[in-house]
Amino acid sequence: MIHLLVSIKQVPDTTNIRIDPETGSLIRKGVPAILNPYDAHAVAAAAEWKRKLGGKITIITMGPPSATLALQECIELGADRGILLSDRKFAGSDTWATSYVLAEAIRKIHEEDPIDLLFFGKQAIDGDTAQVGPGVATRLEFPLITYATNIREINQDEGFVLIERKTELRTEIIRATLPALLTCEKEIAEIPYAALPDLIKSLRYETETWTAEDPVIYDETKIGLKGSPTKVSKTGTPKQHEPGETFKVAEIGLKESVDTVFEKMISNSSVASLWE
């Protein structure tokens, strides 16, 4: 029996965000919240290994009460238990404070029911920092393997994992002692089409909510805005580029459009150098 933990985040569906044509800023209103796609693949990977080895999957997330929906989606994908860390005092946490909150909660779970392997998504699609997974691993002093693309082996008897990770130049195979923490690329596993009993279980699942006092008592100076050293001094929208030239396929035909664009690319010196 193995105990796998996946840390997830509910994020706005950035593929659904539109830009206000007048102000140039993002319209976040009415954008649906989804399970961070990398996290979904991490849950799918955990579910695959649960099927192979037997055991259970615990999901943890920090967020508003509506993040329950993301936890339910994980149950649908094969998880067994979902814990929502939700408290006003957590609000405004940056990646530093968030990794403290998650690490302490995971420490608590680990004490009661030792965890063998921890999964995080590579990064969240809203902040794109990729800092929380490494932050948690550091605090818990677990081996960290980022950008994992494949789990070759989980060996509980000898206490190690063999993980493939992607770097810009090559694929590395890393052996790490358990418990270890992975941050996952989408290749780690395909998202399955859930069986109906799992879907129904997820729809009926009621999340456990943990607060800043119960069952873990947090140091209030280390959470929320107070515990967040990151200061956002200014936000802005990048200047919009001048629109490029438009070639309407409907007007000039496909071949003509492609030829024209191709010629433009070649005549542009920076592109031309790539062709050589």
Binding site: P21, Y193, A194, A195, L196, P197, D198, L199, L203
Partner: protein
């Protein structure tokens, strides 16, 4: 994983208006009801013009207004716009009865509304299973006892299945309730753009006094290029819906692209100024069953009933379908309760669904208008000649050009008779009348 049989008292296929209504009624009486919806959530696949009729909504939830339904503007002006190639004659009604509370109809956006309507059913106790496609039925001794879905271990059992699958009634066909697929002459394809505009702009351009006023307009004439079909315009709060529907048969005959027909409508000189500067929020298309009474499947069999678009419950002339779906859903829900009370789910028990509908406007109206779709298909002049004539006539009547009035009337008369003989005009009127009155 458990191998327990998934069992409910009632399974409803499809969380549209008919489905969520049927489920709400059955769940309200304490039955264990599941709604199986193929979309990510209720409403995600649903699409219409359009406006909803408050009488049908209030029939299901008498406290409708306390529940804060996500409706757009009330319809305070409604009627026809007749388009010629470059002009328009408006025949609309506003004020008076139309403005009396409660307002008869409200513009709605179905993705928003249907998801809310399904939530109301959930509050009554129905259980929604989204993201799941019902693929077939499970039979025992010739009686339907459940459905199969496209998910692993996906069988769901219930002694009563209420099929509200929508216009593409594949399951209704599988069940043998109708022996053929939709015919091209018996369905229309409607395409629509939802275009965002500020409420102020909408009010100014359409002459509406405030955001508490809205329009539901059927557009006849040049919009359908002579094909049997109609255009429409509805005002949401911060957007307008403009669309056009033509029969599949006409699409087949003319080989025009539906979205080009829509674009042509949007570029019409009388329409373009209304939407100028607006942003496209959403495009979409949907079939409308227009066969009415004559294309209705058998409405029940042992263990199953069918309601809404799947049962061809649309009055094509009056653009009514949602209200029929809701009333039929209610009736199916009541029949499911009756069957559970009797402990008998045979066709004979479920026949009280159809008996109940006979008493309501659903069947009466559908029967009355049974000739309408054939009439419109056979009388393209209603789509082209008369609207153009009307524009010519009004244009002539209200301009002088220094002509004597007698000559003017002659010209108006000639502009009709040159297009269609007087005898034919009279014939058209008679058959139109017959199609409406239903004799």
């Amino acid at each position: 994983m458990s191998n327990e049989k998934i069992q409910f008292d009632v399974v409803v296929v499809g969380a549209g208006l008919a489905g969520s209504t049927a489920a709400a009624i059955a769940a309200r009486h304490g039955l264990d009801v599941a709604i199986i919806e193929r979309g990510r959530s209720p409403g995600g696949k649903n699409f219409f013009g359009g406006a909803l009729y408050t009488h049908s909504l209030e029939e299901i939830y008498p406290d409708l207004w306390d529940r804060k339904p996500p409706l757009e503007r009330p319809v305070t002006e409604t009627g026809f716009w007749f388009l010629s190639k470059d002009g328009m004659v408006k025949a609309t009604v506003q004020g008076g009865r139309i403005n009396n509370e409660p307002i008869d109809a409200y513009v709605a956006l179905r993705a928003k509304f249907d998801s809310w309507w399904a939530e109301q059913a959930e509050e009554e106790g129905a259980f929604i299973i989204p993201k799941t496609l019902v693929t077939d039925f499970i039979y025992e001794e010739g009686q339907v006892v459940g459905v199969t879905t496209d998910r692993p271990q996906g069988d769901i059992y219930a002694p009563v299945i209420i099929i509200c699958e929508g216009v593409n009634n594949i399951l209704t066909q599988k069940l043998g309730l109708i022996d053929h697929d939709i015919q091209p002459t018996k369905a229309a394809l409607a395409v629509k753009q939802l275009i965002s505009l500020s409420p102020k702009t909408i009010n100014a351009r359409l002459g509406l006094p405030s955001r508490k006023h809205g329009m539901a307009i059927s557009v006849v004439g040049d919009v359908s290029m002579g094909m049997p079909g109609l255009g429409f315009l509805y005002t949401a709060d911060k957007a307008v819906s403009l669309g056009v529907g033509v029969t599949l048969h006409a699409l087949q005959e003319t080989q025009i692209k539906p979205y080009e027909l829509l674009q042509r409508y949007l570029e019409h000189p009388a329409i373009a100024p209304i939407i100028e500067g607006g942003q496209l929020m959403e495009y979409g298309a949907h079939l409308i069953p227009e066969g009415g009474w004559k294309e209705m499947p058998k409405l029940f069999t042992g263990g199953a009933m069918v309601a809404g678009d799947a049962a061809s419950m649309v009055n094509a002339l009056h653009w009514e379908g949602t209200n029929m779906a809701i009333v039929a859903g209610k009736q199916a829900g009541l029949t499911a309760i009756e069957a559970h009370q009797k402990g008998d789910f045979s066709a004979q028990t479920l026949s009280s669904y159809q008996d109940g509908l006979q008493e309501r406007f659903v069947m009466k109206d559908l029967r009355q208008y049974r000739r309408m779709s054939k009439f419109l298909a056979n009388h393209p002049e209603f789509m082209e000649i008369y609207p153009t004539f009307l524009n010519d006539a009004m244009g002539n009547f209200f301009t002088s050009f220094g002509k004597p009035k007698r000559q003017l009337y002659k010209e108006i008369w000639r502009s009709l008779t040159s297009r269609r003989s007087l005898l034919k005009v009279i014939g058209d009127m008679v058959s139109f009348g017959r199609a409406v009155i239903g004799i």
